[in-house]
C-alpha cells in the first residue's frame, strides 16, 4: 500500500503541480442487486476530475446514472446500490475509504449537494432558517446565534425576498424557486470546495431556472467552489460550464471543453442531444433513431450501438476505446464524427 501511495503522489507531482485536480473520480463502479446472480452495473467505471474553481457539466438522459453518480461521490449511493469499485480522491484523501464518521464530516461541509425537488427534500416540520443554520452549527461549530446570523446572510445572498420573515417559514410556505434557493443556501453556507448540483432546476419554470442557475454559478464563484453541474438539458451547460461530460447508460461517452463539445461534438449520442435543440428537422432526423421497444444492454460492444445511426458491425462486438479526438476532448466511439 505504501509503495502505491508514493507512486500515485509522484505521478501527481510529476504531472503538473498547479493542475492537481480538486476531486478525482477513478473507475467508479456502482452495482444494484437485480434479483439474478449478476448485479446490474449502473455506473460502469466513471473517470472524471474537476480542477479547483472549475465548473464541469454532466449531461445525460434520465436513467443514465446521474443521481447515482452524485450520491456515490458523497459515499451514499441510492439504496440498494453498492460501490463495487473505484476511488474518489478529494483534497488529498481517498474519501470512499474513510470511516462513515469522517465522511459525514466532509458531506455538507467540503462537499455539498444541491438537490432537485427541494420541497420534498426539506424537512416539512422544521423552519427553513433552522435547517440552513443547522448546517453551520453542525459543521462549523459556531454558536446558535452565529449560525442564525450566517443563515440570514445566506438567505440574502440567494436573493430571497424578505429574508428575515422567510427564516421562520416552513417549506410548504415557499414556492419551488424559493425552496430551491434555500437548498442552495444550505449547500453553500459552509463554503464547500466542491458542490454537486443534481438536476437542481428541473422542476422550475424556465425563467426562474435561468435566474437560479446564474445565481448558483455566481455564488459558487464567490465561495471559490468547484462544481459538478448535473443536468439533462445540454443547452443549460452552454452558459457557464468550463467542460462538459456526456453520460450515457452509466458511461461517460464524451468529455470536452465547452466550445469543443458544442462546435465539434464527436460522439453520435452528443450529436443527437444537440440536434434535438436544432431548428433543422433534417439535422434532427439524421442523428436520432427511433428508440427500439426495449433497451438492450450489450455485453460487449458500444452501449449506444442500438440507437446509433452510424453503427457498424464492429460497434456491436467491440467496446470502443475512450480516445482523444483533440487535446482534452475524448469520445468513446469507433467512428468519432469529424468536423471539417
Amino acid at each position: 500500500m505504501g509503495a502505491a501511495e508514493v507512486i500515485s503522489k509522484t505521478e501527481n507531482v510529476s504531472g503538473d503541480a498547479g493542475k492537481a485536480p480538486l476531486i478525482d473520480i477513478r473507475n467508479l463502479r456502482i452495482t444494484f442487486p437485480s434479483g439474478g446472480a449478476e448485479p446490474k452495473t449502473v455506473l460502469k467505471g466513471i473517470n472524471l476530475s474537476v480542477q479547483p474553481g472549475e465548473i464541469v457539466g454532466l449531461v445525460g438522459e434520465s436513467g443514465a446514472g446521474k443521481t447515482t453518480l452524485a450520491r456515490s461521490i458523497l459515499g451514499v449511493p441510492p439504496a440498494p446500490g453498492r460501490i463495487a469499485a473505484g476511488e474518489v480522491h478529494f483534497e488529498g484523501r481517498q474519501i470512499l475509504s474513510l470511516s462513515e464518521a469522517e465522511l459525514r464530516r466532509l458531506r455538507g461541509r467540503r462537499l455539498s449537494v444541491v438537490v432537485p425537488n427541494p420541497r420534498a427534500e426539506l424537512n416539512p416540520l422544521r423552519k427553513v432558517g433552522d435547517q440552513i443554520a443547522s448546517m453551520a452549527k453542525i459543521h462549523l461549530n459556531v454558536s446558535r446565534k452565529e449560525a442564525r446570523r450566517m443563515a440570514l446572510q445566506m438567505l440574502r445572498d440567494v436573493q430571497i425576498p424578505d429574508p428575515e420573515r422567510r427564516m421562520d417559514a416552513y417549506p410548504h410556505e415557499l414556492s419551488g424557486g424559493m425552496a430551491q434557493r434555500v437548498v442552495i443556501a444550505m449547500a453553500l453556507i459552509c463554503n464547500p470546495a466542491f458542490v454537486i448540483s443534481d438536476d437542481a432546476t428541473s422542476g422550475l419554470d424556465v425563467t426562474v431556472q435561468a435566474q437560479i442557475l446564474a445565481l448558483l454559478a455566481k455564488l459558487a464563484a464567490e465561495h471559490g467552489s468547484a462544481m459538478l453541474f448535473i443536468t439533462r438539458d445540454v443547452g443549460i451547460t452552454a452558459h457557464f460550464c468550463d467542460r462538459i461530460a456526456v453520460l450515457f447508460s452509466g458511461e461517460i461517452v464524451e468529455i470536452a471543453p465547452r466550445e469543443a463539445l458544442f462546435l465539434e461534438p464527436a460522439h453520435p449520442y452528443t450529436l443527437m442531444l444537440l440536434a434535438a435543440f436544432s431548428h433543422s428537422p433534417k439535422l434532427r432526423d439524421s442523428w436520432s433513431v427511433p428508440e427500439t421497444a426495449r433497451r438492450r444492454e450489450l455485453a460487449a460492444g458500444c452501449q449506444y450501438a442500438d440507437r446509433c445511426p452510424i453503427a457498424q458491425a464492429v460497434c456491436r462486438t467491440h467496446r470502443p476505446p475512450f480516445a482523444e479526438v483533440s487535446p482534452g476532448h475524448f469520445a468513446r466511439c469507433h467512428f468519432p464524427v469529424r468536423h471539417a
Partner: protein, 336 residues
C-alpha cells in the same frame, strides 16, 4: 389564536356528541334481557311486589319517557343509583374511575417508554438484533391474553419470588389510605406527604402496570417502527444524510416527523384501555370503573353501565381534543 378558534369549534360539537352517545348506549343497555326488579327482589318475590317495584323504578313507563327522565336527571348531576351498591352512581364512579385512570395512565407510560424506544432502535437498524427481537415482541404482545399474562406475573413475582404484594386491591390493608383529593392514590399519598402509602400504592401498581404496559407496548412499537422506517427512508432524511447531519440528529428529526402517528395510536389505546383493562382489574381486585360496569351489565344494573359509558365518552373526547391540540403543535401544515 387559531388554536382557540379551533378549540371552540370542537367544543361546540361535544354536547351533541355526548347526547348521541347517551341515547345509543341507553337503547343498547335497555335491550339487554333481564328485569332488575326481578333480580332485586329475588326468586321468592310475588308478582304484585315486582309490579310495585317496577312502577317505583319507572320501568313501567315507555322507553322514550325513561330516556327523557334519565337525561333530565343527568342535567341535575344525578346519574341514578346502583341497586347493587345502593349508592349514587356518581359517587361510585368518582371513587372508581380514578383507580382505573391511575392504572391505565401508568401502564400507558410504560408502554410508550418500551414501545417507542424499541421502535426507534429497530427502525434505525432494521437488520440488527433489536429489530428481530422487536418483531417477535410485537407478535407475542398481540397474541398473549392480558389476564393470563397477569396470572403468570402474579405466580412469578408474588407466589414464587414474594417480591410483589398480594393481588388484592390498590393498597395494603394495614396501610391507611391518604385523604382522597384526586382519587389517584399515588398522587394523593404525595399530596398528604405519606411515603408509606405512596410506596404501598406503587408496589400494588407494579404488576398490573407491567401487565398492561408490556402488552400494549406491542402496537406502539409496531407503529413507531414502521413510521420511523418510512421517515428514515424519506427524501428529507436522505437529504440530511447527504448534508452530513449526524445520524443521531437525523433519527431525532425523523422521530419528530413520526410523532403524529405515534400520538394517534397512544390516544386510541388510552380510550380503549379505560374499559379494556377490566380483566386485569378483576385479576388484581382493582375495584376500578371497568369492573364496576361489568358487574352492572351482568346484574341488569343499568345506571352504573350508563354512567361508565358517559365517563369513558367524556374521557375519550378530552383525549381526542388533546390529541388534536398536539397535532396543532407538531405540524405547522395543520395550524395554517
Amino acid at each position: 389564536m387559531r388554536i382557540l378558534a379551533y378549540l371552540a369549534k370542537r367544543l361546540v360539537f361535544v354536547i351533541p356528541q355526548l347526547l348521541g352517545i347517551v341515547l345509543v348506549s341507553f337503547l343498547l343497555v335497555k335491550s339487554i334481557p333481564g328485569d332488575p326488579a326481578v333480580l332485586m327482589l329475588g326468586p321468592t318475590a310475588t308478582p304484585s311486589a315486582i309490579a310495585a317495584l317496577r312502577e317505583q323504578l319507572g320501568l313501567d313507563q315507555p322507553l322514550y319517557m325513561q330516556f327523557l327522565i334519565y337525561v333530565r336527571n343527568l342535567l341535575h348531576g344525578d346519574l341514578g343509583t346502583s341497586w347493587q351498591t345502593t349508592r349514587p352512581v356518581l359517587e361510585d364512579l368518582l371513587q372508581r374511575f380514578p383507580a382505573t385512570l391511575e392504572l391505565v395512565t401508568f401502564s400507558l407510560l410504560l408502554a410508550i417508554l418500551v414501545g417507542v424506544t424499541l421502535g426507534v432502535y429497530a427502525a434505525r437498524n432494521p437488520r440488527g438484533w433489536v429489530a428481530r427481537v422487536s418483531d417477535l415482541y410485537g407478535l407475542s404482545a398481540g397474541a398473549l391474553p392480558d389476564f393470563w399474562f397477569a396470572l403468570v406475573l402474579i405466580f412469578v413475582f408474588y407466589t414464587v419470588l414474594g417480591w410483589a404484594p398480594a393481588p388484592l386491591g390498590r393498597i395494603d390493608m394495614i396501610v391507611i389510605p391518604p385523604i382522597p383529593v384526586t382519587g389517584i392514590l399515588t398522587i394523593d399519598a404525595l399530596l398528604a406527604g405519606d411515603p408509606e402509602a405512596f410506596w404501598s400504592a406503587c408496589s400494588h401498581l407494579a404488576l398490573p402496570v407491567l401487565t398492561l404496559g408490556l402488552l400494549n407496548a406491542g402496537p406502539i412499537l409496531k407503529i413507531t417502527q414502521s413510521t420511523m422506517e418510512t421517515m428514515l427512508e424519506s427524501d428529507f432524511s436522505r437529504y440530511e444524510v447527504l448534508c452530513g447531519v449526524p445520524q443521531n440528529l437525523v433519527v431525532r428529526h425523523a422521530l419528530r416527523n413520526a410523532l403524529p402517528s405515534i400520538v394517534t395510536i397512544i390516544s386510541v389505546l388510552y380510550g380503549f384501555l379505560i374499559g379494556g383493562a377490566v380483566l386485569v382489574e378483576i385479576v388484581f381486585s382493582w375495584g376500578g370503573a371497568g369492573q364496576y360496569a361489568v358487574q352492572g351489565v351482568l346484574n341488569s344494573d343499568i345506571y352504573p353501565v350508563l354512567g361508565f359509558v358517559l365517563f369513558s365518552a367524556i374521557f375519550s373526547l378530552i383525549v381526542y381534543i388533546a390529541v388534536d391540540l398536539v397535532y396543532f403543535l407538531l405540524d405547522p401544515r395543520i395550524s395554517n
